[in-house]
Symmetry: C2
Subunit: 647 residues, 2 copies
């Protein structure tokens, strides 16, 4: 495939040519040590405009200024334009931003922007296994690995690095947090040299690599008989092995660790704390400026469903809040946005409001594990905006922690070796939006979606508005036909796609709704499991009381009778029926909307998205009918509007 041809290709994602733009004759000027950035700028203009006419009359100046490290400024000049960065990386971001703004159709002399990221680390996590399979991957196989070795197309890696740098990503962890015996070896030869080769492809784009390491690497890789983080031999293993890594890759960003979680080893197996575990590894990389991203996804995944005392969302706080302040400076606690697991709707993790003396990363999931698996449309930007603007303490929103407690933003990516990277072409928008909000959490979903549409497609007003409306509504639509009101986890076990209302109800994963003939939900208030007490008092009060609890989280926090009266007067049960009938209708409307775009968006995108919207509609109807039937069979209460509920 020749990706240099100046026409739309799904592979180019948001870096598309723009045949409708008027090219400008100009001359690019940059110091000789900025060659790579100069070249990226030229390639970008060529892509957008075609071959550039050189003109001494208009100068595009690239330069390093004295701004903050990753900051850039875009400034129109009398007879030219200046892109300045506080460092090469800042300048590179400036160039990409300049190109992207041009791509939206803005006139060059209207582009005026100064920007710097609020957090230092904007990270993509790949859950790629070295056998090529991607855990929770919905866009093909890994483009890093196959057959338990590195196996990649260097050109594709470069294209990927450019895509990621163009949205401000500066760190990528290439392997699954569920590390196995093969990938445990990434920090040692022979894999380490291959890792160094890969790092070299990302380096010019300002992207530093990370790997997920196995907590038991001292045993698996080092041949020791323990992984006890306070054991001298274990400490020495991590120190020496990390020295080897940094000798090969001096700008290596560090390690991601999933410990004491879902059958992974961890410090608790040795009677040590999470801090003991994290600090031992962190001490090993500290001399090299390395980081340890230590995941907080620690809970009892062997719960007995009969045990109504244990409440899974409380686990992370219980494990980590008492250790606030005990972690080394180069440890960053990686906290999932919510206390459960990337559900369609959950509250913000109480750890964000309770850790004040610890570096934190918020972890999002771009991969649509529970949100439609890149078959069903789900604009995560909408969810993220809501999360980022959630109050976490004394009126402060979550995004207000960025650059303070929160020093990193990470996400599990939705990419694979499909030619369009993300399976569903519209899911590219989620990847794009992630980079942008990691850079600037004040961006709204609407802004992000508009921006992405404008730089990705050349369509008409109807096209832009249709796609924008589809994306903006997509999350509510998906929520309507799936699990209601924050209850979560009504999915098929293991694969997590499609309805299975009781699928996790008697399992050991700790996710129960306990629906019976008259009520549903777990009382997580201070009078129930006490989960709400993990929040600051004002939030606790809000969540504790059903009248003040945000209604969209009603079933996350409360056990509620089916005849409970919602704010608009409907019963809870009627709300559930209504939202499911509506959601399936909305899914049908999504397909109909998309069908109006034939010949308005590129054919390859049109057909691949249409095929997925058809599958989404089947899925939505299945959800509607199974959920409605489930509640009818439990409650014996009919739909007030007499619509079809199967018996």
């Amino acid at each position: 495939m020749d990706h240099t041809q100046r026409k739309y290709s799904e592979y180019k994602a948001w870096l598309q040519p723009k045949s409708s733009l008027t090219p400008k004759a100009l001359r690019i000027r940059a110091d000789f040590d900025l060659d790579f950035i100069h070249q990226e700028c030229r390639l970008g203009l060529n892509r957008l405009w075609g071959e550039i006419k050189e003109s001494a009359a208009y100068t595009l100046q690239l330069k390093i200024d004295d701004g903050a490290h990753e900051a850039y400024s875009l400034t129109p000049l009398a007879s030219g334009f200046e892109i300045a960065g506080g460092s090469k990386r800042g300048l590179l971001y400036g160039v990409y931003r300049f190109l992207n703004r041009l791509a939206t159709g803005e006139s060059i002399d209207q582009i005026h922007e100064r920007s710097a990221p609020q957090v230092d680390y904007r990270i993509i996590n790949h859950w790629d296994n070295m056998d090529g399979h991607i855990e929770r991957g919905y866009a093909g196989q890994s483009f890093f690995f196959a057959h338990n070795q590195f196996d990649y197309d260097a050109e594709r890696i470069t294209d990927y690095a450019r895509l990621m740098a163009s949205i401000g990503i500066n760190g990528i962890c290439i392997n699954n947090v569920n590390v196995n015996k093969v990938s445990a070896g990434l920090i040692a030869e022979p894999l380490l040299s291959d890792l160094a080769d890969l790092a070299a492809l990302f380096r010019p784009f300002g992207i530093r690599l990370m790997v997920s390491v196995h907590f038991d690497a001292p045993m698996i890789v080092g041949g020791l008989t323990t992984s006890d983080p306070l054991d001298a031999g274990v400490k020495e293993f991590w120190r020496a092995q990390s020295a080897v890594v940094y000798d090969k890759i001096p700008d290596f960003l560090g390690y991601v660790v999933k410990a004491d979680s879902e059958f992974r080893g961890g410090p608790e197996a040795f009677g040590r704390t999470q801090a003991d575990g994290a600090n031992t590894i962190a001490a090993a990389v500290a001399p090299f400026g390395g980081l340890v991203f230590w995941r907080c996804f620690v809970y009892n995944c062997q719960q007995d469903w009969r045990d109504a005392q244990t409440d899974r969302p409380m686990a992370a706080y219980k494990h980590f809040q008492p250790l606030d302040g005990a972690f080394d400076q180069n440890v960053i606690l990686q906290i999932k946005n919510g206390p459960v697991d990337f559900q369609t709707r959950e509250p913000v993790s109480p750890l964000f409001s309770s850790l004040t003396n610890t570096h934190e990363a918020i972890e999002f999931q771009i991969a649509q594990e529970y949100t439609g698996q890149q078959i069903d449309l789900f604009s995560l930007a909408v969810q993220w905006e809501e999360i980022l603007t959630t109050e976490v303490n004394k009126g402060k929103q979550l995004r207000g922690l960025f650059g303070h407690e929160i020093t990193a933003v990470t996400a599990v990516t939705n990419t694979g070796n499909n030619m369009n990277w993300t399976g569903n072409t519209l899911a590219q928008c989620n990847l794009y939006a992630f980079g942008r909000i990691a850079w600037n959490p004040d961006l709204t979903a609407k802004e992000l979606i508009r921006e992405w549409i404008r730089i990705t497609f050349e369509t008409d007003e109807h096209g832009s508005q249709t796609i924008e409306a589809m994306l903006l509504q997509s999350r509510d639509i998906y929520e309507n036909y799936t699990a209601p009101l924050g209850i979560g986890f009504m999915v098929n076990p293991s694969n997590h796609y499609g309805p299975n209302v009781d699928g996790y109800e008697f399992s050991h994963w700790g996710t129960y709704h306990r629906a019976d003939f008259e009520a549903i939900g777990v009382d997580r208030t201070s009078k129930g499991t006490g989960f709400t007490t993990q929040y600051p008092e004002s939030l606790q009060n809000m969540y504790d009381h059903i009248a003040t609890c945000p209604e969209e989280l009603l079933l996350f926090f409360h056990r509620v009778r089916y005849d409970y009266q919602m704010k608009d007067g409907r019963t809870l049960l009627q709300y559930i029926y209504d939202s499911h009938f509506e959601g399936a209708q909305q899914a049908e409307a999504l397909l109909q909307s998309w069908e109006t775009l034939e010949n308005r968006v590129p054919q390859e995108a049109f057909y691949s998205v249409k095929e997925r919207l058809k599958r989404q509609l089947r899925n939505a109807r299945e959800w509607r009918d199974q959920v409605n039937t489930y509640f009818y069979r439990k409650s014996g209460i009919d739909d007030e509007k007499g619509r079809q509920i199967y018996r």
Copy 2:
């Protein structure tokens, strides 16, 4: 391992040495052409007694008489004993029967028996895949295949052939009915020569081999573009390929075919009938005396759960009853005992009472797919006795069809390469019982179980009675804590072990209980789906009316309210609660009973069975709690006795 040592070994199954018996000095006499049988007799006596003292004073005469082909007689003489058979095979059966009666401790001069089997074909079906995995296997891997080729220990095969011949088995199908592209090649070189080698190991024991063939073999093996059974090229393929098979294995018994079933190809794909399909293949083997066992497990496995008209148990009758009389003489329709799929409790398939002009095989499942997977104790003899004595027409019991409409008895075996053959040592009893009832369906479960215990173990009276009681109760116990009253299929999808009340409720497999807030079950009467109309009128009437329907099948035939009053006055719901509490208690009692047998049964059997009984108890408690909680949550009705039901 040396299996010749004269001590108990699980590997020897029911062919154990007996240190408590008093050996008799004797001389064996047989014509020279009976060498193999003579040797089997001597080996058997050596096993039971140790080295035999030769004595001319007592003669054990082996001879062929003019009895029926497979008949034998055991006759004490003045100064000796005569074993006669109507053929070598009959004589061999006589020898094994003689040895088994000796093994029970009977005195030789009390052994007097004439016997002949009621059906000509007593068949074991292996669901072994050629990669070594056994579908629904709970006793290890295949002892025929590994890595997609034949891979066996000839000594083990000989031991297996002896075990099977000793209970009268005369045909074995070695591969899974779900034939794949590899096993489709068993009827062609290079695999055919290997098959012939294996057949040679079984031949002395009177056992003829079969293979499951792929209906699409004309395409897969023959390279044709169709498998249409009326296509001349297809007919020629089957003819020519079968000639090749019979050239290599002249006594080959024939083929098993699973067609138009669960994603397998079949004649209906070509607009042909099941008879068209079966007869084309049957015609190809008829010249060689071969048979085609054509399975009747044909149903829509892509049903929409919303579709309440389609009723899976009706499918086999609909497909096959109209074709009664249309099948060639060497076609045997292989019909599962019940209309669904080897559930703990179901009625007898209506095909048995409705096919009068067709050869039939009844298919049992010794492998405990839905009956505890050789972890939970389940004596199938109890179930089989009940099935065989079920009325099928005008007062006639199912076993009354043996030797008439039913000309073959088949079963999916429970064996694998575990050293004790069956995983659970007590599951050997099911294998033994199958062979015996296939020979003589008038044997009761109690007789079979006693016989098996006495020839397998040397234990005391407490030991025998305990094991007997455990086995006799095992089926009721399992039924008590699992799916109630014939409702079936409340198991975990795919693996079919453990509870999942709604596990198949919204699936495409056609097995629904449709439990709601007030009732459970599918109305299969003539006023419901009409399934009962597939039975003769008197049976239809019996099943149609809730008052006359056997109560243990209540929920198979009727949709019943939870407050329905059972015969003993309890409500249906209270019956369900009671049986589940009782079943879990009984499972505990099973373990306690077995624990009294330490030092009364061989250690290897004691510990392996004990470990399984512990797992059974855990399983039973899980079933009890999930089922009770499920119905409490649906109905809101508490246990009358106030026992713990989790909310």
